[in-house]
Symmetry: C2
């Protein structure tokens, strides 16, 4: 395979890190950012960036670039309209932390044919070009969606980009991704917010706060708009898990008040965390991209914890 | 001041780390552990340890050692009975993570006169002698209680031990400590357990879990008996905070379901975490241990975030 150019739309923490990582992997890469400040910062660091969306997308269309949408959710519809106008046939992915809502917006824009959803499970509490890091994705899971519509050529390109950035690929359906993301990211964000608020009302609490509080509330330092965007666009999956967490805490509350025990919650929580610590990620083997039932087979493999660490054979393999 | 010997009762994670830290600071130090395995491990590492509680306490009485109780809560009454029999006049402290319950037990044992509660705010998810680390307390807050009864001589000795171990001292009343510990440690432990359980029921969740989940559930790896002991012995302070957290999450749940917004929780949580990040700890100045109202003044200073980084003048200062 020749190295397909990469066109990154949005040069914040994730997009900016991706631009750096793809360049470091030797990929031709160029980017767009709405604010001129981000463009200037990226350019000053030696990268190829522009604040002209139409020129950027025209260039993507001419070079057959893989387009990566890395803008916040509220900016997505406008961005998709631009892409539909200037580069409707390019392979297209995104790095947004919810997948079903993006899939719907892409379908509404008529861009489903070459779209493969993506989500690198990496981040920090910071944002903007300056916070980016070309090694942000190293060793992190990167979800690549295997919904029914996905095209094998586009899928292979998104897989390769994730591998080039140092991630391993977890194949998953968009709805299953969103339920998992609600459990491991969106719900923990909300509980961290609640912990921070609860402690802030107690005299002496911040004076004594150490490791468990700092770690447990770290994600509450994330910009509120980002937390809201991911929770609010994933409410269908988040609500039942939020209910479950409230139910567990309420049961523990009654058990503590009535019988002086939090044993049930603590024993089950410890057992769950122990299962997580012993969770292994074997390599996906024996599946070729584009063969019969490849999407279902990859979804099943991802669900079972299998990951892709080196490129699977596919439609463009020699 | 001459260096008072230190007698550590219980050589698990905290007691074992304390034995190492005090020895590294040049203090004469000896320890007791119930299990012979812990004694052998400590002895093999070059420390002075015994499984004979009566001999250890007799030695403490003869040398005027500062006795540090580092056993789990369930073992406390038996340990206090031994101390009352063999070393009732020694200065006495503890490193247990709740303070009011220990204070009551110490009073019941008739040992209040020389007792000053302590709590180093440091730990890991591991336990036992082998998990100990002489640098565990470096840079961590160490609460030293300033309840109405405390004796200035004993207080100065406990302060010095905390400083010798590399901690800074936060003076606090036992009840205020317990409310703060519920907010920053006990409640975060319970929410971490709930997060781990919730995620464990969602296919794909562990496969995608990354930084925010790992950090947010780290404390769920703590041994269940330790989590239960600290939560269950502090239920009076923990219950209202657990109620508050449930209330915050329930309000967010309804706001998300009814209006598609988690804005209120997220904005307040971010603001609280930002206040925590900007929290500073100025040095206590101008208070001498034992002067009029010294306990109230230290409690007020601790509540305001002030800490002790070098020994305050006191009754034994030259």
């Amino acid at each position: 395979m020749t190295a397909t150019p990469v066109c990154v739309l949005g040069l914040g923490l994730i997009g900016g890190s991706l631009l750096r990582a793809a360049a470091a992997a030797g990929r031709p890469v160029f980017g767009y950012n709405r604010s001129i400040d981000g463009v200037q910062a990226a350019t000053a660091d030696g990268f190829d960036a522009s604040a002209d969306i139409d020129a950027t997308l025209t260039r993507a269309a001419e070079t057959g670039a893989l387009i990566v949408i890395a803008v916040p959710v509220p900016a997505l519809p406008t961005m998709l309209a631009h892409i539909a106008e200037r580069a409707p046939d390019n392979p297209l992915t995104d790095v947004i932390s919810v997948k079903a809502a993006v899939l719907d917006a892409v379908a509404d824009a008529g861009l489903l044919a070459r779209y493969v959803g993506g989500h690198p499970m990496a981040g920090t509490a910071y944002s903007g070009w300056a916070a980016g890091d070309g090694r942000l994705f190293v060793g992190a899971p990167w979800v690549v969606s295997v919904d029914d519509h996905v095209d094998p050529h586009a899928w292979a390109q998104v897989m390769q980009l994730a591998l080039d950035c140092g991630s391993f690929v977890v194949p998953a359906r968009s709805d299953e991704h969103d339920a998992a993301a609600a459990a491991i990211s969106h719900l923990p964000h909300l509980t961290a917010e609640a912990m921070a608020i609860t402690a802030s009302d107690v005299p002496l609490a911040f004076a004594l706060a150490a490791g468990s509080f700092r770690d447990g509330t770290r994600v509450a330092a994330t910009a509120p708009d980002l937390v809201r965007a991911m929770c609010e666009t994933n409410s269908a999956e988040l609500l039942p898990l939020l209910d479950r967490a409230i139910e567990l805490l309420t049961a523990a509350r009654h058990s503590l008040a009535d019988r002086g025990s939090v044993g049930e919650l603590v024993e089950h929580g410890h057992a769950a965390r122990t299962r997580y610590d012993s969770f292994t990620r074997p390599d996906v083997v024996g599946i070729a991209i584009g063969e019969e039932n490849w999407r279902d087979e990859l979804a099943a493999a991802g669900r079972a914890g299998w990951v892709i660490r080196s490129a699977l054979p596919g439609p463009d393999s020699r």
